[in-house]
């Protein structure tokens, strides 16, 4: 009897630390751009993720388990992102959050597919959710969801018949340009200039001359943030003051900070913005600024929502079942009544794309002002 008790105690002593660790916490990997070109957006995402994690943990965690978040820096490099995701998967996370750069997601998503681990990304390239990945989701608008709203705005509000297009020549930029061109062709809008620019490009004078000389009804810019700032500076230098429309990055807080008054007058579609007339988003923006001293951009909001989506999906399942996670989320609608942390009612389609209302924003005196609220495509 005594031997049995000692053996049981010994077994418990060996097993308990592991069991306690497993029982008390749930691991989430944050695979994100913490350095390199995407550092600005990755930092916003990560700060917001940490904010959500602290709130959820303070309120008792997910199904009683505290979230244990670990950051993995992709260095904004697709190859590094894949290596870092492998490292993250070796630690057996419940869910992987990120990355944001589409070029990184495209090369690493095969690993989560193979491992059967849910991945919630901030990437926007249309192709990501069209690969048949069973466990991928995003909290941002994909290009397939965002662009139709923008093209509709160009046609119905700007009444543009011709558009000059400039884009960053990378995975994300080309994906957006291809989607936009296709939709514009269907809408009867002619693309009269189709100009690429490079990542880290300094001089935009040739590109600006090309889009300006096209004398289009509007310029559509789809460049990364630093490049958007340099493009805006050159555009204003060359005296352009016609309609300038972009998607998300052109009117982001970082671009406004970098280009100052040159960003004024730029308009763009954003899936998420803290200046939207939605109390939950405004409150999130206030909390974010209080915590970091910075204004959030859409990436911060995406990261925050991603953590709450994990919480809601898990609570709906009642368990930490990775296989059931995707099944639960595909086609699901999460309202702010179900989970206030999602900030806006959100619906996932069968591919993992998200649909919800979004905003058309104009930069006025260095600040984003919401011009109109665009309904969800499904409405």
């Amino acid at each position: 009897m005594r031997k049995t008790v000692i053996a049981a105690l010994a077994a418990a002593a060996i097993a308990l630390p592991g069991v306690a660790g497993a029982a008390d916490t749930v691991k989430i990997a944050n695979l994100i751009e913490l350095s390199g070109n995407g550092a600005a957006i990755g930092r916003n995402w990560t700060d917001a993720v940490n904010m959500a994690v602290e709130e959820i943990n303070a309120a008792g965690g997910i199904l009683g388990k505290q979230i244990e978040i670990t950051d993995y820096d992709t260095q904004s490099n697709p190859g590094t992102s894949r290596a870092q995701l492998q490292k993250a998967l070796d630690n057996e996370p419940y869910v992987v959050l990120g990355p944001i750069f589409s070029s990184s997601t495209r090369v690493n998503m095969a690993l989560t597919k193979r491992a059967g681990v849910p991945q919630i990304v901030g990437s926007e390239a249309a192709s990501i959710t069209q690969q048949g990945h069973p466990t991928i989701f995003r909290t941002s608008f994909g290009q397939a969801m965002g662009m139709p709203k923008l093209v509709k705005y160009l046609k119905e509000e700007v009444k543009a018949k011709t558009v000059a297009l400039i884009y960053t020549n990378d995975e994300w930029g080309k994906g957006g340009r291809n989607t936009a061109k296709e939709l514009m062709a269907k809408a009867g809008i002619e693309v009269v200039a189709d100009v690429s620019s490079e990542v880290k490009q300094v001089d935009f004078s040739a590109e600006v001359l090309k889009v300006k000389n096209a004398k289009a009804d509007a310029i559509f810019a789809y460049c990364l943030e630093e490049e958007s700032a340099r493009f805006l500076n050159e555009l204003r230098k060359q005296g352009y003051d016609g309609p300038l429309i972009g998607e998300t990055t052109l009117i982001s807080q970082k671009v406004i900070d970098l280009s100052g008054a040159n960003a004024n007058g730029a308009k763009g579609h954003v899936g998420l913005t803290a200046s939207a007339p939605v109390p939950a988003l405004v409150e999130f923006g206030r909390k974010f600024k209080e915590r970091t001293g910075r204004n959030t951009d859409h990436n911060g909001i995406k990261g925050y929502i991603a953590v709450y989506v994990v919480k809601e999906a898990t609570e709906r399942m009642g368990s930490f079942d990775q296989a059931k996670f995707a099944e639960t989320l595909r086609g699901a609608t999460i309202t702010t009544k179900d989970e206030p942390g999602v900030l806006l009612d959100i619906r996932f389609d069968k591919t993992g794309d998200v649909d919800r209302e979004s905003f058309l924003v104009e930069v006025v005196n260095g600040e984003q002002k919401v011009v109109s609220v665009l309904p969800a495509l499904g409405e």
């Binding site: 913490l34 350095s35 390199g36 070109n37 550092a39 600005a40 930092r43 020549n169 100009v195 690429s196 620019s197 490079e198 880290k200 490009q201 300094v202 001089d203 004078s205 040739a206 590109e207 001359l209 090309k210 000389n213 943030e225 630093e226 700032a229 340099r230 204003r236 230098k237 060359q238 005296g239 970082k254 900070d257 970098l258 100052g260």
Partner: protein, 292 residues
């Protein structure tokens, strides 16, 4: 015509940006026989330090510039010479190149870790005014950068060829042993060359960063383009650096506008290959022989 003129003016302005660090490449080669592959980071670090003084010390640009100049002279001049160049140069140019590549990585990671990992706006050294001449525009910043770069080239050219110290520095680069026999203080000349380079990169930082934005990885692009510009212009002529820089800037613009924006970065490399094939000492360089 207006288009071509605009492209030319913008190209010259951007080329001036490329030329400034290229001058540093040439200066170090001409005076010490060293190639510094951390030259881009030598421009990046002063820009980050200057911005830190401006933001955290609430200082005006010119005060932070002077403070940074002193720090650069110490870190990028004296410390660089004593810690990196002196121990490595005796093993030949190749180990030194590898050491400067390692240094460039160290500097990038340090800037990222201890300052900012994302781009920051940087104040203009002169009031930013856009001057319009019909269809063509130019900014006061462009004019100022071009003026400063030309003045620096003239000053350095005069210093190296017309002053006793400058000629001594060139003599040290060509043959340190003979220079020492002739009574030249070799170590002093080498130190002076590194101090001048430190000053040069700090001036370059204040001129290029408003356009490049202050960021830890800026040195990669700055260093590479400046190196290409220095080879095109002539690695042994200071005035060659400015010609090389301007040619690269103008060629990028013209090729992007008239041929293809996708291949804008390729055309300067084509020019580089042509120069290496047909004029290996650069457009303004002069053939020289060195003991190997």
């Amino acid at each position: 015509m207006a288009e071509a003129l605009q492209l030319l003016i913008s190209g010259i302005a951007t080329g001036t940006i490329y030329a400034l660090p290229a001058i540093g490449f040439v200066l170090l080669w001409q005076t010490t026989g060293t190639i510094n592959f951390a030259q881009g980071e030598f421009v990046m670090l002063p820009s980050i330090i200057m911005l830190a003084f401006i933001i955290f010390g609430d200082m005006p640009l010119w005060v932070s510039f002077l403070l940074t100049l002193a720090i650069s002279a110490m870190l990028l001049g004296s410390v660089f010479k004593v810690v990196v160049v002196q121990p490595m140069i005796r093993h030949g140019v190749l180990p030194l190149i590898i050491a400067t590549i390692a240094l460039s990585i160290l500097m990038r990671e340090t800037a990222k870790e201890f300052f900012w990992n994302e781009a920051q706006a940087f104040p203009m050294p002169v009031p930013y005014i856009v001057i319009r001449m019909g269809e063509v525009t130019v900014t006061t910043h462009h004019l100022f950068s071009f003026g400063v770069a030309c003045a620096l080239v003239i000053l350095l050219q005069w210093f190296l060829s017309r002053t006793r110290t400058g000629r001594s520095m060139q003599a040290v680069a060509q043959n340190p042993d003979t220079a020492a026999i002739l009574g030249i203080n070799v170590q002093r000349m080498i130190s002076l060359a590194f101090l001048i380079n430190a000053g040069l990169v700090t001036v370059a930082a204040v001129l290029v960063t408003p356009i490049y934005l202050a960021k830890w990885d800026n040195g990669i692009a700055i260093g590479l383009t400046a190196f290409i510009a220095a080879i095109i212009g002539g690695f042994n002529q200071v005035r060659g650096a400015i010609l090389g820089g301007v040619l690269v800037g103008v060629l990028e613009n013209f090729s992007a506008f008239y041929i293809s924006t996708e291949y804008r970065a390729a055309f300067p490399l084509i020019l580089l290959i042509a120069v290496i094939l047909f004029r290996p000492y650069g457009l303004l360089g002069r053939p020289e022989e060195r003991t190997v």
